[in-house]
C-alpha cells in the first residue's frame, strides 16, 4: 500500500507567530497522493489548505511561520529535511505549483517567454535556442494561440485565462510528478474555468502527473478529482473517494459545503445555503470540535472534547463525534435530515 504513495504528508503542524500570538494554521494534518491521481483539498479560506500544500514546496515563510512537527515524504524522502539546494532541484521539476491569481503570480516586468525558459534552464542544460523552441512547443501544448508572438509579450498584455495557461506551461515544463494547483481558477471567468480544468485533465493523462487541487468550491472538483480531503480550521474533517463524498457525505461540514454548490441544490425546495457563522480564529483553538459552534448536529461532547478520526475503509475517515457508537440517535437525525442530498 505504502509503495503506491508518491507523496505522504504525515502529522503536519504549522504555526504562524504574529504580534498577537501564535496562530495554529495547520494541525496534525495527514494526506497522501498516489501516482497520477487527482486529490482535491476543499475548505474555506483560512482552513489551512494552502498553508499545508505550500509547505510541500518549502514556500512557508519562516519566520513568521514555523513547522512544528510532521513529515512530508516524497518518494520516501522527507522534504522537510532537505536544504535549499536539494529543494531547488525538486521544485519546478518534480513538483510544481500554480497559484490563484495569474495576474500577480507572473513577474510583471519579464517577458512570459523568459519566465517559461527560466524554469527550463534551471533544471536542464539546454541552449538558449533550444529553450525558446521548447517554450513555444509547450505554449502550443497548453493552447496559447500564436505562441511565437506571445513569447515576447509581457504578462499584462495577456488575458487572465492566457496568463494562467502561461503559469501552467511553467509548471508543466519539466513534466513534474506532482502539480499543485492552488485555486487555479478562482480569479477567472466561469467559461475560462472549465477550459482550464479540461486542460489540466488532458495534461494529467498525457504526462501522468498527479495533481493536488486546492479549492473552496465543491462545484469544480466533481469532474476531476479521484479523492477529496475536506479541511476546516487547520484540520482534516473528512477524507473519501469523490463519489462517496458526493453521494454520502458524512461530516456535517462537508454537507454544508455541498449545499453551497448551485448545481447540487438546484431543485426547488432546497435553496442555495451558506453555513452560518464564521470559522474560529485559530489564535484560540476551541477545546472541542472546531466546527461545533456552526454545526446543526452538535452535541455536548463536541464542545468539550476533540473528536477522533472514525475510519470506515482505508481511504475513508471522518473527524466527527456523530460516528461514535454512543451517538446513534443524533447520527440518525443527521441521516434523516440530510438524506435528500443523496
Amino acid at each position: 500500500m505504502d509503495n503506491e504513495k508518491l507523496l505522504d504528508v504525515k502529522n503536519l503542524t504549522i504555526s504562524f507567530h504574529t504580534y498577537v500570538g501564535e496562530v495554529a494554521a495547520v494541525r496534525n494534518v495527514d494526506f497522501y497522493l498516489k501516482k497520477s491521481e487527482v486529490l482535491a483539498i476543499v475548505g474555506e479560506s483560512g482552513s489551512g489548505k494552502s498553508v499545508s500544500t505550500q509547505a510541500i514546496l518549502g514556500l512557508t515563510p519562516i519566520p513568521p511561520g514555523e513547522i512544528k512537527s510532521g513529515k512530508i515524504l516524497f518518494k520516501h524522502e522527507d522534504l522537510l529535511k532537505f536544504d535549499e539546494k536539494e529543494m531547488s532541484k525538486i521544485c519546478g521539476s518534480q513538483i510544481s505549483m500554480i497559484f490563484q491569481d495569474p495576474m500577480t503570480s507572473l513577474n510583471p516586468t519579464m517577458k512570459v517567454g523568459n519566465q517559461i525558459r527560466e524554469v527550463l534552464h534551471q533544471h536542464s542544460d539546454i541552449s538558449r535556442r533550444e529553450s525558446r523552441e521548447r517554450a513555444i512547443e509547450l505554449m502550443t501544448l497548453v493552447r496559447i494561440p500564436e505562441p511565437e508572438m506571445r513569447i515576447d509579450q509581457y504578462p499584462h498584455e495577456l488575458s487572465g485565462g492566457m496568463r494562467q495557461r502561461v503559469m501552467i506551461t511553467i509548471a508543466m515544463a519539466n513534466r513534474p510528478d506532482i502539480l499543485i494547483a492552488d485555486e487555479p481558477t478562482t480569479a477567472l471567468d466561469v467559461t475560462i474555468q472549465s477550459q482550464i480544468f479540461r486542460l489540466l485533465k488532458e495534461l494529467r493523462t498525457k504526462f501522468d502527473t498527479a495533481i493536488i487541487l486546492i479549492t473552496h468550491d465543491f462545484g469544480v472538483v466533481a469532474g476531476i478529482a479521484d479523492r477529496i480531503v475536506v479541511m476546516y480550521a487547520g484540520k482534516v474533517m473528512e477524507e473519501d473517494e469523490t463519489d462517496q463524498i458526493y453521494y454520502e457525505p458524512r461530516h456535517p461540514y462537508t454537507v454544508g459545503l455541498l449545499k453551497a454548490v448551485p448545481s447540487l441544490a438546484d431543485n426547488e425546495e432546497e435553496k442555495l445555503r451558506t453555513i452560518d457563522g464564521t470559522p474560529p480564529f485559530l489564535l484560540k483553538i476551541p477545546s472541542g470540535c472546531p466546527f461545533a459552534d456552526r454545526c446543526e448536529y452538535a452535541m455536548r461532547i463536541c464542545k468539550e472534547k476533540e473528536p477522533q478520526y472514525f475510519q470506515s475503509k482505508d481511504s475513508s475517515r471522518v473527524f466527527c463525534w456523530l460516528y461514535h457508537d454512543q451517538a446513534d440517535g443524533q447520527l440518525q437525525r443527521f441521516k434523516d435530515r440530510e438524506g435528500r442530498l443523496r
Partner: protein, 305 residues
C-alpha cells in the same frame, strides 16, 4: 473506543453555541493608534526629546543670569564652563541662553507654519475634492506648478519680497507649502465621497458641512497629522537654510539656523559654537522623523489587525 457519559451525546442547544465573531471589534480608533504608537520605542523617545526641548525653551533662558542679547566684550569666545554652560560667542553672549531663545523662535516658526499649512491645505483640498470639475482641475494644475519648483526656491523668492523676519518666514512657508496637504486631503475626499457611508449620509439629507465634519474630517485626520509632523521637520530645516543664507531671522534675535550659521563660520577655532546648535537641530529633526514614522505606522490601516 473509550466510553463517555451518554449525556454528552445529547444535542447542543443553539444558545449554548458561541455566536459568530463580529469582525468589527469596535476598539476606538485613536486608542488603538495610541496602543500601537506606545509600543514604538523610537517614536516615544522622539516625543520625550521634543517635550524636553519645549520645556527648556520655556525655562532655559531664565536658568542663567544672562540675557541672550547681552554683549559682554570681556568674555568673548569662552569655552563651555560652569560659568557659561555652552560657552560664549564672538560678542561674549551666553550660548546656552541663546540656544533656548533660538529654540523658541525655531520651534514657534516650525509649529505655526505647519499648522497654517495644514489649515490652508485642508481648506483648499476639500474645496477641490468636493467641488470637482473645473475648480478641481484649476486648483490641481496650480498645485502641480507649485510642486514642479523646489520649495526652497519658492520660499527664497517670497523671503526676498517679504524681507527677513519671523513673520515673513511663517508667511512664506504657509503660502508655498500647503500643496502636499491639499493633494492629500483632496485624494482622501474623493475616495470618501464614493464610499457607502458618505453616500448614505448624503441621501439621508446631511448637509455638506456636516458630511465634512462628521465623516470626511475624522478619516483624513490621521493622514493630515502624519503629514503635518513631516512639515514641521521641513520648516525647521527651511528656517535654518534661510538663516544660513542670510534671509532668515535678523540679529540680535536668534534662531537655531542662525546659531548653526555662525557656528560654521567660527568652526575652525571654536568648534563648540557649531556643536551645540547642530546637535539640537539634528535631534529635533530626528525626533520629528521618528514621531512621524511612528504615527504613520500606527494610523496605517494596513498595519491594523
Amino acid at each position: 473506543m473509550n466510553n463517555h457519559k451518554q449525556q454528552l451525546f445529547t444535542p447542543l442547544d443553539r444558545s449554548e453555541k458561541a455566536g459568530p465573531i463580529l469582525e468589527t471589534e469596535t476598539i476606538a480608533f485613536w486608542s488603538d493608534v495610541w496602543r500601537r504608537f506606545r509600543s514604538n520605542k523610537p517614536a516615544l523617545i522622539g516625543i520625550i526629546i521634543l517635550v524636553l526641548f519645549v520645556i527648556f525653551a520655556i525655562i532655559g533662558p531664565s536658568m542663567v543670569s544672562y540675557q541672550y542679547d547681552k554683549v559682554d566684550l570681556l568674555s568673548t569666545y569662552e569655552k563651555p564652563s560652569s560659568e557659561h554652560w555652552f560657552g560664549t560667542d564672538a560678542l561674549g553672549r551666553d550660548i546656552w541662553c541663546r540656544i533656548w531663545v533660538g529654540a523658541r523662535v525655531s520651534l514657534f516658526i516650525a509649529i505655526v507654519s505647519a499648522l497654517s499649512q495644514m489649515v490652508i491645505g485642508i481648506i483648499i483640498g476639500s474645496i477641490s475634492g468636493l467641488s470637482g470639475g473645473k475648480v478641481d482641475m484649476i486648483i490641481m494644475r496650480f498645485v502641480d506648478i507649485l510642486i514642479a519648483i523646489p520649495f526652497l526656491i519658492w520660499v527664497s523668492l517670497f523671503m526676498m519680497v517679504l524681507g527677513p523676519g519671523m513673520l515673513s518666514i511663517i508667511l512664506a512657508f504657509s503660502l508655498t507649502q500647503w500643496k502636499g496637504m491639499a493633494r492629500l486631503v483632496r485624494g482622501e475626499v474623493l475616495r470618501l465621497k464614493e464610499t457607502e457611508f458618505a453616500i448614505a449620509a448624503k441621501t439621508m439629507g446631511a448637509s455638506t458641512w456636516r458630511l465634512i465634519r462628521k465623516h470626511i474630517f475624522p478619516n483624513v485626520l490621521p493622514l493630515v497629522i502624519v503629514s503635518a509632523t513631516f512639515q514641521v521637520t521641513n520648516a525647521i530645516f527651511g528656517e535654518a537654510f534661510l538663516s544660513y543664507i542670510g534671509l532668515g531671522i535678523q540679529p540680535p534675535m536668534t534662531s537655531w539656523g542662525r546659531l548653526v550659521a555662525s557656528g560654521i563660520a567660527e568652526m575652525r577655532s571654536f568648534s563648540y559654537m557649531l556643536f551645540f546648535p547642530a546637535v539640537f537641530i539634528s535631534l529635533t529633526m530626528l525626533s520629528l522623523q521618528l514621531i512621524g514614522d511612528g504615527l504613520r505606522d500606527a494610523t496605517d490601516p494596513k498595519m491594523r489587525q
